[in-house]
């Protein structure tokens, strides 16, 4: 069930506290963790669901007795979707608040800037982004919770060529995240041999992309890949009666975006990681816990946030609650079976996700339905 924006939920979100302290009953000294999320600005569309996942994970861990008997105290910071602000927040969390690890940031640019501060201190960072630049591989304390853009590109083309069995593809992407995926689509296309009949771009924040949609329609593609964090292109494509199937990358697979798509939210295929209406066996517990807490279904962002906190908690439990940040980072660096997918933080891309980690869903009357297809086979 999608979240309804009532006055209460809006006010509740606005007044969300910045520090989540353990409830009474925990006498032991808390273990302090930090979170840098984009609760405001362009990244809020994914940052707010991530915050829900993080808060729920901390609550669940504390209710089960914390880590080695010590509760988690979480300090949540909003970077306003700005990498400069993310740096000042990281400086606060690392040097003033002495946190053991940082959950987030939400966006790639913030991840790159926070990594520059945290990695020399060997503080584990769990960003909700994929590996962006080659030099990030040298940052051994920055573990990524989402796939690389290279893998996102492959996941799209796997479905197009092997499930839809078509090669006439058009791409409509934004100037930020979509631009990177577009570059990767071209790079990996040697393997898939797809014919990109059109590639149109919209600027981040654009409120109308009808012109680009019309150009796409004129090429009569068999499928349109829509890559970005906006519901607008989906609406515009349907408004001009573009009847070919639309396929989207991870960014828009959320109930908030689906609601914003309105009547256009039908027959759209997503390459993602969690279909809560039909979860995989290892995802069921998380989906039930989330649904019980928020009365709504989670998606990939909430699941990755839940996993980030649990992966850090597992690392702290392994290294010991009083371990140094470097020891905690070392303990995290390894396989971790999460609710979103199975990670391997010791992999070269610091994520360990593979094509088979993806699940595919299709929107039917505003609901996600799992498509029986496994990529990478």
């Amino acid at each position: 069930m999608p979240i309804s924006l009532t006055r209460r939920t809006v006010l509740g979100a606005m007044l969300a506290p910045a520090i989540i302290r353990p409830t009474l009953g925990h006498a032991a000294e808390p273990i302090r963790l930090g979170a840098i999320l984009s609760a405001t600005g362009p990244g809020a569309g994914v940052g707010l669901p991530q915050r829900n996942g993080v808060l729920l994970a901390v609550k669940a861990i504390n209710e089960k007795g914390g880590i080695a008997g010590r509760p988690i105290e979480l300090l949540v910071e909003d970077d306003g979707s700005n990498p400069d602000a993310a740096v000042t927040k990281a400086n606060n969390l690392i040097f003033s608040q002495k946190v053991k690890a940082i959950i987030g940031p939400t966006l790639t640019a913030s991840t790159l800037s926070v990594g520059g501060v945290a990695d020399p201190e060997k503080i584990a960072v769990m960003p909700f982004t994929g590996l962006g630049l080659e030099m990030e591989k040298q940052r051994r304390s920055v573990f990524h919770m989402l796939p690389t853009q290279d893998l996102n590109a492959r996941a799209l083309l796997e479905f197009v060529t092997k499930n839809m069995k078509t090669r006439k593809v058009a791409v409509l992407h934004d100037s930020a995240y979509g631009n990177i995926v577009m570059t990767k689509l071209k790079e990996v296309n040697a393997t898939y041999n797809v014919d990109f009949v059109a590639a149109e771009k919209w600027e981040v924040g654009a409120t109308d992309v009808t012109t680009q949609a019309a150009k796409i329609k004129a090429t009569a593609p068999d499928v349109v890949l829509v890559i970005g964090n906006s519901a607008t292109p989906f609406r515009n494509l349907r408004q001009i009666r573009m009847n070919a199937p639309l396929m989207s990358a991870l960014g828009t697979a959320s109930y908030e975006y689906v609601r914003a798509m309105g009547d256009a939210a039908d027959n759209i295929i997503f390459a993602e990681f969690l279909v809560a209406e039909d979860p995989l066996p290892y995802q069921k517990d998380f989906v039930e816990t989330f649904h019980k807490e928020y009365d709504t279904f989670p998606k990939t962002m909430e699941a990755s946030a839940w996993d980030a906190v649990h992966a850090v908690a597992a690392g702290i439990a392994k290294a010991g609650p009083d371990a140094t940040p470097a020891a905690i980072s070392d303990a995290i660096r390894g396989p971790y079976a999460g609710a979103m997918a199975k990670f391997d933080f010791s992999a070269p891309d610091l994520t360990g996700l593979s094509l088979s980690s993806y699940v595919y869903s299709k929107l039917e009357k505003g609901k996600f339905t799992r498509v029986p297809f496994t990529a990478g086979q």
Binding site: M14, L15, A39, G80, P83, A109, G116, S175, A176
Partner: protein, 320 residues
């Protein structure tokens, strides 16, 4: 006794890094960047009556020049800073000549367009700017072999730079050129009658403003170590305009106060949760409504009321 206030301020400034936490010093360093870039905007606004909504373009040019020269070309940091200044001057000269013929809202819109165009160019010129991913790994500044690799060390660089900018502005304002600027701002027709070349004067002011924006951007790049297009959008230009508006555009020192306000208040309010942006907006509106001379005007009024010597001087002035 005349300089006792300044001496006290200097002592407080020197003592702050030994009293405050690293996070607070980090914020003060950012305030320093805002003060330098905002000084350029304040100079145009206060002395020329020009609303500059494109300062982030020069801030970005400075930052990308430094990042590109040091990371991609392996050149020393001063070369990058100088490149930023030269590129900014060239752009300000080329763009300034046509747009500074405009005035009022039209000129403000033209500077806004400059900011938007440059922001898009930063996105598109991926081979230089790194596009969405930006340029990481910008080296820390080093002065005579002394690396400015902590907020405290950078604090002792950026604030003297900001104060130097303010003192230069003051000096310029009290010169013949400063008087010409004031004449141009208050009575452009009369200024033209007095043979003041208004378009040339405006261009010079725009060039100075662009240099300040570029230097602030270069220093920012070396401090943060990462440059990305998200730091140079229209929102950042508006932020730079807020610095003199809140601090007080009529006095060059106003940008120092304004920079502290826009840098510290959002952070102080952030403990209240996501509502902090709404509260910051309200604080801005309240400041503009209640203190039209800016916060520096309020501080001056407070000083006139509270300091006996100033109170007496004010009374004597009023009795005359």
């Amino acid at each position: 006794m005349k300089y006792s206030g300044y001496i006290l301020l200097a002592i407080v400034w020197l003592a702050l890094p030994f009293v405050l936490e690293r996070h607070a010093i980090d914020l003060l360093v950012f305030c320093g960047f805002y003060a330098v870039a905002g000084a350029g905007v304040g100079f145009l606004l206060g002395q020329g009556g020009i609303v500059n909504l494109g300062q982030a373009a020069f801030y970005g040019l400075g930052a990308y020049s430094s990042a590109y020269c040091t990371v991609q070309l392996g050149l020393p940091a001063p070369v990058g800073i100088l490149t930023g200044v030269v590129v900014s001057l060239c752009l300000a000269f080329l763009i300034g000549r046509p747009i500074l013929r405009l005035s009022g809202y039209f000129l403000a819109l033209a500077t806004l367009a400059l900011g938007i165009i440059c922001s898009n160019l930063f996105y598109e010129a991926e081979f230089i700017t790194g596009g969405t991913l930006g340029i990481p790994g910008v080296p820390k500044l080093s002065v005579l072999g002394f690396a400015l690799d902590t907020p405290t060390k950078f604090y002792f660089l950026i604030w003297p730079v900001a104060v130097l900018c303010v003192l230069s502005m003051r000096s310029l304002m009290s010169s013949r050129i400063g008087l010409a600027m004031q004449a141009m701002r208050d009575a452009p027709e009369a200024a033209m009658v007095l043979a003041i070349d208004i378009s040339r004067l405006k261009l010079w002011m725009f060039l100075i403003s662009s240099v300040l924006g570029s230097v602030a951007g270069s220093l920012f790049a070396h401090y943060v170590g990462f440059v990305n297009v998200d730091s140079f959008g229209v929102e950042r230009s508006i932020f730079f305009l807020l610095v003199p508006v809140i601090g007080g555009a009529a006095s060059p020192a106003g940008v120092l106060v304004g920079a502290l306000f826009v840098g510290l208040v959002p952070e102080a309010l952030s403990v209240l949760g996501d509502i902090h942006r709404v509260l910051f907006g309200l604080a801005l509106v309240a400041t503009v409504v209640f203190f039209p001379d800016g916060l520096i005007g309020l501080l001056k009024r407070l000083a006139d009321t509270c300091i006996p010597a100033r109170r007496q001087a004010l009374k004597m002035e009023q009795s005359r």
